[in-house]
């Protein structure tokens, strides 16, 4: 048991932190968002240079062979700065799909492009009726010769508007709600029959709706067993959720910091409002909520690679509960303590608040996951 960072981990942390300090102030972020793709291509190249895009991939595929702790370190830093680049969508999420489903040959073909920054994949998973149950996928993949034809719609695809390609989950057998019968397919953005509509998101990023009209996927673009992708999807969900927890903690930490600074500086009735005990205690409670969330983000990272699906799901769900609750408490109180400026676009705090809300609703909100933990019999049945 050791909560210190290793030398390599410290290195990653320092380099990300340094980059974001110079390139990712609040105003710089607004500029990145305003670029055509909704983020800064230049920064993406910097991420590649720093090796951030290589983190979770195996060394044999050109990656760094690092794990959930390293991803946690990066995502926490990204959360502090509210990074809008598609790291979560592309490296964490689509990357995990490749790691868990693709063959060595497929990885050798695809991963190097991701690592060097030239290809940015997105994971097309959710549909209108999916909500938080990722087995509830209806989109059909019908066998044609050696390959498949995809037809249907995907929505809420994070960074789906600018991705160079997609990992697409579709059903080769079974019915929505069944884990069996799902396959993963690697589809280039320019594939015949694939159209997309991009849209901005509440938290200042971008996403897309995709329509597949009989899109052909050749054999070598089928990632793993076309009827047995569920275990890979479940692992992707765990890893992306753990990464989101870390991002949320970075953002919460920043909110606590901004709020404490604000109340020390803001004067009312002739004194800094930090002089009011009620606000002091509120800040203390925010700090406690942050530390509890941080503990559970670490717990999520510890369990993201756990092999037993039930144990992994319960741990991740527990983390999502804590992160959702802490994020809401901290976000709402950070806005409240900022007063009027807290509800304007002109201050950083509102953007953190919105990001927290969206993180809670991504892959299941706090109460949804609480139900999952309860249904699993609680936290401590195992030891």
């Amino acid at each position: 048991m050791d909560f210190d960072l290793s030398e390599e981990q410290s290195l990653i942390k320092d380099s990300v932190t340094r980059l974001l300090r110079t390139e990712y102030g609040f105003e710089a972020r607004e500029k990145h968002r305003a670029e055509a793709s909704g983020f800064s291509e230049k920064l993406w190249a910097s991420f590649a240079e720093l090796g951030l895009l290589a983190i979770p991939f195996e060394e044999e595929d050109g990656g760094l062979g690092a794990g959930p702790v390293e991803t946690m370190i990066v995502m926490e830093a990204f959360g502090r700065a509210l990074v809008v680049e598609p790291y979560l969508a592309s490296v964490v999420m689509a990357g995990a799909a490749l790691r868990h489903a693709a063959s060595p040959e497929q990885r050798a073909a695809i991963v190097p492009g991701i690592v060097e920054g030239s290809s940015r994949l997105a994971f097309a998973l959710a549909e209108r009726d999916t909500r938080y149950d990722l087995s509830r996928i209806a989109m059909k993949a019908s066998r044609e010769g050696d390959g498949f034809r995809l037809s249907g719609e995907k929505t809420l695809v994070l960074h789906g508007d600018t991705a160079t390609g997609f990992v697409v989950a579709a059903r080769t057998a079974g019915a929505p709600g069944e884990a069996a019968g799902l396959g993963l397919f690697n589809v280039p953005a320019g594939a015949d029959g694939l159209t997309r509509r991009g849209f901005p998101t509440q938290d200042g990023m971008r996403a897309g709706e995709l329509t597949f009209a009989n899109v052909f996927v050749p054999k070598d673009a089928v990632l793993g067993d076309p009827e047995g992708a569920w275990p890979a999807i479940a692992r992707v969900e765990a890893e992306v959720s753990a990464a989101l927890c870390a991002e949320a903690v970075g953002s919460m930490e920043r909110m606590v910091e901004l709020t404490v600074a604000y109340i020390k500086e803001r004067k009312q009735f002739g004194v800094p409002i930090a002089a009011f005990q009620v606000l002091q205690h509120r800040a203390s409670e925010m700090y406690m909520a942050l530390e509890q969330a941080r503990s559970m983000a670490i717990f999520a990272a510890m369990n993201a690679a756990e092999h037993d699906e039930t144990a992994r799901r319960t741990a991740i769900s527990a983390a999502k509960v804590q992160i959702g609750r802490s994020g809401r408490f901290i976000g709402q109180n950070a806005v409240q303590l900022h007063g009027g400026v807290g509800v304007t676009m002109e201050y950083e705090i509102a953007h953190h608040f919105k990001r927290q809300a969206m993180i809670d609703l991504a892959f299941g909100d706090a109460d949804y996951h609480l139900k999952l933990v309860a249904d699993a019999g609680g936290m401590d049945e195992r030891d």
Binding site: G340, M345, D365
Partner: protein
Amino acid sequence: MDLTFTPEETEFRAEVRGFIAGNVPKDAQETLRAGRHVSKDQLVRWTRILNDKGWSVPHWPVEYGGTGWDPIRQYIFLDEMQRAPAPQMLPFGHSMVGPVIYTFGSKAQKDRFLPRIANLDDWWCQGFSEPGAGSDLAGLTTRAVREGDHYVVNGQKTWTTLGQYADWIFCLVRTDPQAPKKQMGISFLLIDMTAPGITVRPIRTIEGGHEVNEVFFTDVKVPAENLVGEENRGWDYAKFLLGNERTGIAGVGATKERIRRLKEIAKAEPAGAGVVWDDPRFREKVAAVEIELKALEMTQLRVVSAEARRGHGKPDPASSILKIKGTELQQATTELLMEAIGPFALPYEAEAVEGRNEPPVGPDYAAPIAPNYFNMRKVSIYGGSNEIQKNIIAKAILGL
């Protein structure tokens, strides 16, 4: 103690309900039902319909266009307005400057302004808050210097709601910086928004809308006849104004309407093999809010009934409960809407609250939900933050 409405009160409610149902512009009602903001035009149309009926300023004295209704009837009227839903009157003319003018204004001011407020011929906005003075309102620094028959105003106001549409602004200004207490050197001025030297800068609020503004005054000339009451007595009028906006502060009717919409959406939105509403836990959360709301409604009726007994105009410190609980429930219902819509809260439509052009991403009821949740964080901040309200309860009710 008789805890039911009298037959006359019930009949009155039916009359109000019938009138609203038969006369409210349908487009405005649809807009509200969808959780979107009404336009200026919709509000003006509805105000004039009400004014024709004699109901646009029901709480004013009869001589200035009021109805003579007792507080319980006023409560019923407002409740029906919120539940219909019909566009609510903006407070700035109707509940803020109107009562100040008829209570402290000159005959000329009454004659000139009151009918135009009742008909929404003049759109008013409020010039109280300043960047350096939020909860500490009396810390304001906007200066007005008397020069002959006018004042020259310099300074800045902020959080000026819907100031972009305003014809007039009522302002607290400092006329005596040397006054022994900061509350004593403040005056209450009515200022024409078209006067040279006024600049309005929009503030984009958290959800992306344009609802509030900064208003800058540079050597703005204001005729002395636009001073309300006496010079340096403005703080008294401001306190009167702030204590006056009580009825309906809890927004019980509006919250009921939002719960109706919440249930509708929860019954439509897919979740698992069914819909969100199938989850007993979700229904319990809604029920918990409804119970608190019922308690608040009863509390409000008790406050209104006590007001009816005590006579008009004395603000009841218990109305701080209405503010706190009312805003908590407004916020809680927007949170439940977020929970109901789940992942489809994510897409941002620039026109989500005002109306839109593109086909929606996800269900068509989704778009206003996240913006409303974000925007509604303001209600525990403005109008005297909920922390300030708790100070008031501690001091004025509990003697702490």
